[in-house]
């Protein structure tokens, strides 16, 4: 089963790259903790998109199902680890909020001197 008109890999590359850069910039420049967090998730998911696209291309290039499967397995693991990361991050934000009533990261400056 093949899709007659397939999207070229370059488009995926550009889309994933754009999402990744948006995520990275957001993580570095935003002040609200939750927004930073969403940006990081965006980065990880752009990677997922890219890997899935590559898995298909690699599978077609080599004609070997197993190499294509490697990429798809990687995506599953990235999803699972991202969920664990999300849980740790949210828990940390809760802990911070309990102590300070804010999650504005610009106000987290106890140790700068």
């Amino acid at each position: 089963m093949s899709i007659p008109v397939s999207v070229p890999i370059q488009w995926y590359f550009l889309l994933a790259g754009a999402l990744f850069v948006i995520g990275a910039l957001g993580a570095l420049s935003r002040r609200n903790g939750i927004t930073i967090f969403l940006s990081i998730e965006l980065m990880l998911n752009s990677v997922n998109l890219l890997i899935v696209a590559y898995a298909r291309v690699v599978g077609e290039r080599t004609g070997d199902l197993l190499t294509a499967l490697n990429g798809q397995i990687l995506v599953l693991f990235v999803l699972a680890v991202a969920a664990a990361e999300a849980a740790v991050g949210l828990a940390l934000f809760i802990a911070i909020f309990r102590g300070r009533r804010t999650i504005d990261v610009n106000r987290l400056n106890l140790m700068r001197w």
């Binding site: 570095l28 967090f37 980065m43 490697n70 990361e85 991050g89 828990a91 802990a95 102590g99």
Partner: protein
Amino acid sequence: MTAIPIRDFLLLAPEIFLAVAGMAMLVAGSYGRDNGGNGHRGCSVCAVAALAMTGGLVFWLQGGREVPEVILSGMFVLDGYAFFWKILLLIAATLTIFLSERFVAEGGYRPGEYYALILFATTGMLLMVSGFNLLSIWISLELMALSSYILAGYFKHQLKSTEAALKYFVLGALSSGILLYGVSLLYGATGTLELAGLSDALSLAVAAGDGQVLVALGWLLLAMGLFFKVAVVPFHVWTPDVYVGAPTPITSFLAIASKAASFAVLVRIFYQGLAFLTPDWQWLTAALATITMIWGNLAALTQKNVKRMLAYSSIAHAGYVLIGVLTATEDGQWAVLFYLAAYTFITAGAFGTVVLLERRAYAGETYEDYAGLARRAPFLAASMMIFLLALTGIPPTGGFVGKIYLFAAAVEAGWVWVAVVGVLTSAISLYYYMGLIVQMYLKDAEDTTPEPLYAPGLLATVGLCAVITVLLGLLPGPLIELAKGSLLPLP
């Protein structure tokens, strides 16, 4: 569908055992009401026992291998290199638990969670140094990192601790995303995630022409993620704040175990996975090593807080270790192993001294708090002096021997200028390490200067580290032989 032989799981028994021990401790520690930190001694004894048994299993099942054995469909490899790091990491984790005694008791939280997280992080490190596939390496790295984030914020009612954890988390997650992006690009260029075939596949992809940019971007991003983990300038910004804010035993854990494991993975990826790109990563590493040594040492000069000074010193030392990495020779490689092994004891001892002087709410960390320590606690002051001399690289300590071999390897491999920068920056570092020694030996204590804590277990740990530091300086032979027997094939 080829089934994985049961034997592979048996060979991985040490890691499995450690993970199960961690889970058992987590569940056992969660029963009953919040007991205000009681039972920490039982927990720490159990944790040390678990680490010791894991060490025994590592010796029994994974030791003495001449030929590397790849297990679990290429996910992990058992070789002398992994064996060396596993033993070192288990020792580092044990030292951390010895240092934790007072903190966990005073913290007032459930001790089971603390020790369970240390065991989980150690499991991640053990798997990491055995990882032979970018997927397994990434997951083990995340296991270590996620446990470390929580440990850094373990004092959840202290604002500094949670702030450190959050900074560590945000930048750690960012770097892990960058690393993963690099992995995905390399996968797209080569179609493989296995380190064994990666280098050849890379050369094919570059030869084919269209994969050049993918390969270049991919390995650069992968390297960036790794450099973040070992805290190399300019990827070091998280280090000072996290080291200051985290509970001191955890700071020590990050500085010795986390750093050693990350270096182990960095060397394995560079030497085995990116062998084809050796000149490229050599230049990148040389540039970063130079900036790291200069910046780390200069920034340490201006610090007034001892923990923060040690954080910058830890950054600078990552630069020294990179010198050995970039040579890509056997001499450079065993110098890295030796240096990180010596550094483990030196740093654990230095942070142990900080633990003994520290009071609740992070008091007792400034240089002034060390004034007149030689008179108040001669043994502690002498130990701290040994660690500081070792960090500077003055004989007769393990730090001196390690630095000499690193620089010698660099000169032999033709990287003279990097070695020169190393020597010059070591001279700079003399100034701030000496500042602390002067405080301890020549200044008088004020009335407000805190008294060091009397904790026999902690004192014994610090003393042990001091003895080993000196022994490694006087008799480095056995450890050098051990390191020489644990090398990876050269790229």
